[in-house]
């Protein structure tokens, strides 16, 4: 059965998009057919992260939403060494599409869900992975409402935890099958007991994984995806723990 997984964080700068990119790559490397959709129309990131392998894109999620193309025309095969041809990226915006176009005109939110379903069908996906804009807007909430599983990326600090209550209220209303709390950018890969308690109280669940702060990430300067560059880094093990938590590991039943 196909699965839709959303990666979300309450605030920006938590490493949400990097996490989504790495999860996508690792899921695809395990043999699953995966599409990664950047639903962050305001501040896209995935087109940059995969810029050297998939782009430039002429079509995007935005082009689909404002009626310029069908969603599958905005899906680009990512030329990575995942061992098969089933890894795709749908960028949030193409170079030709200004953010003003969609913000000025608006779009029918029903198109998001319809587009997700259509991607799963036409690309025969096992996993549809959705990267989101921080906080809550229409794309983010619709992505979450469309998903079976939620990955929350947070830092162990008061600013990030401030949004935990809202996130959890929404999550409980939406009723996810699986959920993972990833504490990112932890110095030395550890969280002090007191902070750990704060995080687990705020989210009312245990932490799935603590992802270490990796200076190597900064030195990559976004030029390669981390798990490709440092496949044996502890950070990559953390990503794998998230996958173990949220992925149902099954492949879609092909029609």
């Amino acid at each position: 059965m196909s699965q839709i997984i959303t990666v979300h964080s309450y605030r920006g700068g938590t490493g949400k998009s990097s996490t989504a990119a790495n999860l996508g790559l690792l899921l695809a490397s395990s043999g699953l057919r995966v599409a990664l959709v950047d639903t962050d129309i305001q501040t896209p990131a995935l087109d940059v992260i995969f810029g050297d392998v998939a782009l430039p894109a002429r079509r995007s999620l935005t082009d689909y939403l404002i009626g310029r193309c069908e969603i599958e025309e905005a899906a680009y095969a990512v030329d990575q060494t995942v061992g098969h041809d089933g890894f795709f990226l749908v960028p949030a915006r193409s170079q030709a599409t200004g953010v003003n176009e969609i913000m000025g005109r608006g779009y029918d939110v029903g198109l998001l869900r319809e587009g997700f379903d259509r991607l799963i069908d036409t690309l025969a996906l096992d996993v549809l992975l959705l990267d989101t804009h921080a906080g809550f807007n229409n794309e983010t909430v619709t992505a979450m409402a469309s998903s079976d599983a939620l990955v929350v990326v947070t830092r162990a600090e008061r600013l990030d935890l401030a949004g935990a209550k809202e996130t959890m209220a929404l999550a409980s209303r939406l009723g996810f099958g699986a959920m993972s709390i990833a504490v990112n950018m932890a110095p030395d890969g550890a969280v002090a007991d007191r902070l750990r308690g704060d995080v687990e109280t705020a989210y009312n669940t245990r932490i799935t994984t603590v992802l270490p702060y990796a200076p190597e990430m900064a030195s990559l300067a976004g030029e390669r995806v981390f798990s490709t560059a440092y496949p044996h880094h502890p950070l990559v093990s953390g990503y794998r723990r998230i996958i173990a938590e949220v992925s149902n590991g099954t492949t879609a039943i092909r029609r």
């Binding site: 939110v109 198109l111 809550f136 469309s146």
Partner: protein, 416 residues
């Protein structure tokens, strides 16, 4: 001059000798009566006259009563007052609108004078007729302009997506109508809006509200972009109906809801005292899948007629008529149209069409006729037109009639 028939009115039936002689000389047929004679005469007993010659000693009021009595009999003689000596007595009569005749009563002068009076009266009469006719023409012209402008509020042509056949019949009961229909593209041409509505009442008032409601619906639907309510709904404190908490609107539901709810609140906010409202069916169709999401606001249930022989499905109301209640709830209805099926949307002018004996056409007969048309493979609207004409016979059409048929052509060789 044609024969002049004169009724001389005098309290003592006493005609001045000169006048009598002059009338005689010009060949006029003269009768002499008192006002009492005329007023007391039984219907049909008064001679037909072209001129009423009244002695100026009578009061203008009395003369007017006599003229009115004659008018009751269908006579419209010209009224001429005469005086033999006291010419000032004519003043009141002239002021009351009568013509006048002065002595001396020489035959040639009397004849010329009476002829003038006749011509004057005829001219007046034709002027009045022309004015009345002109007024009528001006009303009719205004109404005709109204009709033409109203046609501009209906679509010029209907969209025809691949494999779909959309047809309409629109017959107002009067020059202008309260019914309307609309078909237009939505969501970057991915969906088709189907609207059939019936504004209460008929004629000019209904037509004005038709123009308003049609424009509100279409403009709102077309301009309805991002719906922030979706996020707001899910993030709100009060989850409302628990079963809706995970609902992501289907494509088209947002413009649909915005259009109907927005129009309802506009009408109830600005026009509730005028008492106009509309029943309407507003559907949004996906021509690729046949999925239909709709709101039925107190309208006659459209009939989804199966092309494969299944029972017809009625798309029942999902909310009240639009423009009646502020802040009421409109729910979404969903239906699936399959290849070969036809969706028949209509107004109550169809089911409430009356036969010469006063019977209504009714929903049962409607469904029976629709099914029959499908079984026989006849064009649906032609068939319904025939069925309605046969039922109504010579009776007058009392209400606007609108029928919209949306047919998904089946695979080659299928019915339809």
């Amino acid at each position: 001059m044609a024969q002049t028939r004169v009724l001389i009115l005098d309290e003592r039936r006493d005609v001045p000798a000169g006048l009598s002689k002059a009338l005689d000389a010009v060949g006029a047929e003269a009768h002499t009566c008192t006002p009492g004679d005329v007023l007391a005469a039984s219907p049909g007993r008064m001679p037909a006259v072209t001129t009423l010659l009244a002695n100026a000693t009578l009061s203008p009021h009395t003369v007017r009563s006599v003229a009115r009595r004659l008018a009751d009999e269908g006579q419209q003689p010209i009224v001429v007052a005469y005086a033999e000596h006291d010419l000032h007595l004519l003043d009141g009569h002239v002021r009351a609108g009568s013509d006048y005749l002065l002595p001396p009563f020489h035959p040639v002068l009397v004849e010329a004078r009476l002829r003038d009076c006749h011509q004057h009266a005829e001219l007046n009469r034709s002027m009045e007729e022309v004015a009345a006719h002109a007024e009528l023409l001006s009303y009719e012209r205004e109404l005709e302009i109204g009709r033409e402008i109203q046609l501009g509020f209906l679509p010029d042509s209907l969209p025809s997506p691949d494999d779909w056949n959309i047809r309409v019949r629109f017959r107002p009961a009067r020059t202008v109508a309260g019914d309307f229909y609309d078909v237009f593209e939505l969501v970057n041409r991915r969906r088709l809006a189907l609207v059939v509505a019936d504004v209460c009442d008929k004629g000019v008032g209904a037509a004005l509200f038709m123009a308003l409601i049609r424009s509100l619906l279409r403009h709102t639907a077309e301009q309805s972009g991002l719906q922030n309510l979706i996020a707001a709904d899910l993030l709100g404190e009060d989850p409302g109906g628990a079963e809706h908490t995970r609902a992501i609107p289907v494509v088209g539901a947002t413009p649909l809801l915005n259009a109907v709810v927005g129009t309802n609140s506009y009408l109830t906010r600005n026009h509730i005292e005028q008492g106009y409202f509309a029943t309407m069916f507003f559907g949004v169709l996906d021509p690729v899948t046949g999925n239909l999401v709709y709101i039925n606001g107190g309208h006659n249930p459209p009939v989804l007629v199966s092309g494969s022989g299944a029972e017809p499905v009625l798309l029942q109301p999902t909310g009240p008529a639009v423009g009646v209640m502020p802040d009421c709830t409109f729910s979404l209805g969903y239906a699936q149209i399959s290849p070969g099926d036809t969706l028949f949307i209509y107004t109550d002018g169809v089911t409430e069409a009356r036969s010469e004996t006063g019977r209504f056409f009714g929903e049962d007969l409607l469904i029976q006729q629709l099914t029959e048309a499908i079984v026989r493979g006849e064009e649906l609207l032609d068939h319904m037109d025939g069925a309605l004409s046969a039922f109504v016979g010579q009776a007058e059409q009392s209400d606007d009639i609108t029928m919209l048929a949306v047919h998904w052509q089946g695979p080659a060789g299928a019915a339809g």
